[in-house]
Structure formats: C-alpha cells, structure tokens
C-alpha cells in the first residue's frame, strides 16, 4: 500500500514499534523507513549501536530497542526525515513526539499547534514542549510536541495555527 499512497499501514509500521514493555520504560526512536534505498546515516549516527550495521547499504534499518537510549541523535541525521523520538513515559496520560521540522517560522515552546496524522489530517491541538536545532552534518530543527497517549502512533507532524488559514 505504501508504494501507492506514501502512507504506511498499521501492519507495515509494526516492525518499527518496540514491545509493550519497552514502550513503558522510556524514550525510543521509531524509524519509519520501509524501502530499500542506499542510505546509512541512522546506523552511523547512533553512539549506542542500536541500529544494526548494514551488510548492504540498501538494507532496511533494524533497531535493537534494548540498546536504544532515546537520545534522539538519529532524528536530525536521517535524510528522509523518517525518524521520530517517542516517549510514552512523560505521564499525565500524554506522550512526547520529537520530529524534524524544516519550516519557517519555527513554533515557540508552549505554543498550541494543530497535530496532524500521516495523511495530513488535523487530529487535535497540542502543545510544543521544546524546539532545538541539531544535526552534525546539516542543521535541522527538532520540535517536541506533547500529544494524548492514545494518539502517539498516529500524530506525525503539525501545522502552525497562525499559518493554517492559508492552506
């Protein structure tokens, strides 16, 4: 389906979601990369070797969630903007999602923004928790939003309210 829609199905996502137990233990990287393309920065960027070394540079990434500390270094290195840092242990029935955000203007901490799913549908209003610029080879803004825990697997982007009228 993904190759026809650009949107992964729940089934396709499974391979990148850690076990229930691991999800309760702290932050982890979710790599939404489903196509064999020649690319290895996620492996190279991880200081904990949580992404297995590629035999063929076209291999799909394979992540060892016991090694992943949720440091988030890979998020700004992925050229495909396909890695999300997820923390389901922030409490208050919320989760945090950190994502690369290559748009101007950047949101501000505390700003209310419109959360969207993988198809761009607005699914609620959420609060921006952190904005930072990172990336070793190319500066990439990374924005963390706080989302309802039950939407943590659906929300993958956001629109600024102040720009949304234009859409």
């Amino acid at each position: 389906m993904l190759e026809k829609t650009g949107v992964p199905t729940k089934e396709e996502l499974k391979r990148f979601i850690p076990s229930k137990k691991r999800r309760c233990e702290g932050p982890y990287a979710m790599i939404e990369c489903f196509e064999e393309i020649p690319c290895d920065p996620c492996y190279a960027a991880c200081p904990f070797k949580a992404v297995k070394e590629f035999v063929n540079i076209n291999d799909l990434p394979e992540i060892d969630f016991d090694r992943c500390t949720g440091c988030g270094l890979c998020v700004s290195e992925c050229p495909g903007l396909a890695i999300f840092l997820i923390d389901e242990t922030v409490g208050n029935n919320q989760a945090s999602i950190s994502m690369p955000y290559e748009f101007q203007p950047l949101p501000e901490k505390g700003e209310s923004v419109l959360a969207v799913d993988r198809e761009g549908n607005i699914v609620g209003e959420v609060i921006v928790d952190e904005v930072k610029i990172s990336g070793r080879k190319a500066k990439t803004p990374m924005v963390t939003i706080l989302v309802p825990l039950n939407q943590v697997m659906d929300i993958r982007h956001f629109y600024l309210k102040r720009l949304n009228e234009r859409r």
Binding site: L2, E3, K4, T5, G6, V7, P8, E32, C33, F34, E35, E36, I37, P38, C39, D40, P41, Y43, A44, A45, N56, I57, N58, E77, C78, P79, G80, L81, A82, E102, F103, Q104, V116, D117, R118, E119, G120, N121, G135, R136, K137, A138, T140, R156, H157, R166, R167
Partner: protein, 373 residues
C-alpha cells in the same frame, strides 16, 4: 601544443569530482562551466542527501556544492584552472573545443576530455502547454531556491518521481500551495520517505492520473486532470478541473549529449538510461579513447553516483596521460565497488538494466553518429 591535459566540461557534482581527482593526481586540468556559480544542480538542492554517512549522506546538496567549490578554489593557481561563465559551443575530433566567454570565442586543445553536461528536463504534450505558468519542476526549484522567486501561489505537480516529490516539499517550505501530485504510473516512482513527507503535509498523490489540458486567458488559470486506465487511456467522466496558476512538470530527464554528436561519437538508445547516451565502458570511456562521459549525460541517475563516476573518470584520464601513483588502481577498484554497492537495492533496478544493455551492446540499440540522422 596542448592547452590543458584534462578538460572537464560541466561543473556539477560529476564534473567537480572529475576535475579534483585528475588534478590531485598531478594532471593539468581545466574545468569549464557556463554558470557563474559552480555546483550545477547541487546549488538548488536544499534537502539532505542519502548515501554513505562516511561520504556525503546527511549533507544538504547546496553544502556539498560549497564544499567542492572550496576544494576547487584551493587547487586553483596550481595545476587546476576554472573558466566560469564559459559555454562550450563546438567540439572537433582533433581534441579541440571552442567555447564562448565574455562574448568572444576561444579554443582549448586537450589530451583528454571529460564531459559532465548533465541532462535537460522533459516536456509533456497537452493543449495549453505553451501558456505562461507551465514550468519544468527543476526550473521552479532554481527560481525558488537560487533566485528567491516563487513563480506562483498554487501548484499542480505532474510526476511522483524524486524531483516531483522533492520540489513539492520545497514549494511547501517556501509557503506555496500544492494541490496534488499526479503520476501516470501505478506506483510512486520516487523515494517513499519523500512521499511520506508531503503526505504528512496534506498533499494527495494521485496515481494513474495525468494532465489533459491547461486552460487560461493569457496564463495558466486551470488544469484539467483525468484518471487513466491500465493501458494509460483517459477514463471518461473522471476529469477534474483544478484552479492553479502553475503547472509543474517533473516527467523525467534527457541526457545532454548534443555537443558529443558533433564529432560523430557512437550513441546508444537505452530508455533505462534516459534515452540516447554516448556509448561508454565501466570506466566511463566512450568509443573514442580521449573522451569520457560522467553523471546524467552517461545515464540519468543521481548526484551520489555522478560524483563517483566523476572521480573514476578523473583518475583514469590522468593515468592515461602518465600520472601514475601507487594505490590509484586500488582506489579505482574501490570506486567501482562503491558504485555496485550503491546500486544493489531494488530502486536501482532500472539503471542496472540500462548498464547491462550498454555492456551487451546489441545491434538494435546501437546508433552510430548523429542521433537524428
């Protein structure tokens, strides 16, 4: 008397790497490019590159251009000379080219020449395609990212290959509206991570769709699109009228080989490589031993492999002239290995098919001399 040992025509990723590789081996190199800024298409590529992290993966295209241009500048005054704003206009079989620079014509004689002239964007036939507002996607990318000009507000993108997907994303970054991306094929042609990025931004991708017509008084005001059946015929009743002021065409590239035809070089027609390409071997050498082709001219692919091909041809050309150094053969081997590793994935199926046709070189696909003959 030769003016230079290795002449490189075109200062994009392939040409820059060729010039650097040959001059690092010691050859006297002249690099000529018709633009005032080196880097070719890299200078408008604001997205991060895929590939090997040890090399250029994760770096934005424009930063690769800056890095390579700086390397070129630091080798200048030594054995590397660049001519910017110079356009090669004629090519003769006796190792001579004529270029135009500051409104005069000048001549360069060389021992080896590496052509890295790239490719040009394809047009699509439909009524109204001559209206202002119909653009090639790469042209929009140049206007937007190099010149800071957005040619319109509301866009239709035709083509879901990498260029169509990336330019759609960059249009969104620039604050434009993209109504949809459409493609006649049944699958998304570009990298799916690029597709996912624009889907998150709410842009639909319609496969098995095409544009029927552009409408407008003096400029594009509407685009008529339609669904296609499996034989690529429009399905009656599925037409939709979109209010757009720009129609962006990202429907493929043709290798730019016109210059090489001037000296009767052997061309082959290989659709997987983009159409007519100069015949060449795995070291990028053509049917004439002094002429090499690299990058999109040798087969439309992308910048990472173009850079590898450039390095390869640069080293081989310098070796030809007599610049032999320990370890260069090993380096050449490593580049060939990198190329085959890079192409080991399913997305490179087409290019590999094209290269194998080049090797088998069957009679039907080979056209000698002028392609329009």
């Amino acid at each position: 008397m030769k003016d230079t040992q290795v002449l490189v025509v075109g200062g994009g990723p392939a040409g820059l790497m060729a010039a650097l590789a040959a001059s690092n081996l010691g050859a006297c190199v002249t690099l000529i490019d018709r633009q005032e800024t080196l880097g070719g298409q890299l200078i408008k590529q604001t997205h991060k590159f895929f590939g090997t992290y040890k090399e250029q993966a994760g770096v934005r295209g424009i930063d690769i251009a800056t890095r390579l241009s700086e390397e070129i500048k630091s080798s200048e005054n030594g054995n590397l000379k660049t001519i910017q704003g110079g356009e090669v206009v004629a090519f003769y079989p006796d190792c001579t080219i004529i270029y135009s620079h500051n409104q005069t014509l000048k001549k360069i004689r060389y021992d080896r020449v590496i052509f890295a002239t790239g490719a040009s964007e394809r047009m699509l036939l439909f009524p109204g395609n001559d209206l202002p507002g119909v653009y090639a996607a790469g042209a929009i990318q140049t206007l937007m990212n190099v010149n800071g000009v957005l040619p319109g507000d509301t866009y239709l993108m035709v083509g879901a290959g990498n260029i169509g997907l990336i330019v759609s994303y960059q249009l969104l970054q620039a604050g434009a509206r993209v109504i949809c991306v459409l493609d006649a094929m049944p699958k998304i042609g570009g990298y799916l991570v690029h597709a996912s990025k624009i889907r998150r931004m709410g842009i639909p991708i319609y496969l098995r769709h095409t544009i029927l017509e552009a409408r407008g008084e003096n400029k594009v005001e509407e685009a008529v699109i339609t669904a296609l059946d499996n034989n690529l015929r429009p399905v009656p009743g599925t037409e939709k009228v979109l209010k757009v002021d720009v129609i962006s065409l990202a429907v493929g590239l043709n290798p730019l080989g016109e210059l090489l035809e001037q000296c009767g070089l052997k061309f082959v027609y290989i659709p997987e490589l983009g159409g007519f390409v100069p015949f060449h071997d795995e070291f990028m050498r053509t049917s004439r031993k002094e002429i090499f082709v690299v990058g999109d001219l040798a087969g439309v692919e992308e910048a990472t492999t173009a850079m590898l091909q450039g390095r390869l041809a640069g080293l081989v050309a310098a070796q030809d002239i007599g610049y032999i150094r320990d370890g260069v053969d090993r380096e050449i081997e490593r580049i060939l290995e990198s190329l085959s590793k890079y192409r080991a994935g399913p997305k490179s199926f087409k290019i590999k098919e094209g290269i194998s046709k080049l090797k088998t070189n069957d009679k039907q696909s080979v056209i000698e001399g002028f392609k329009y003959a």
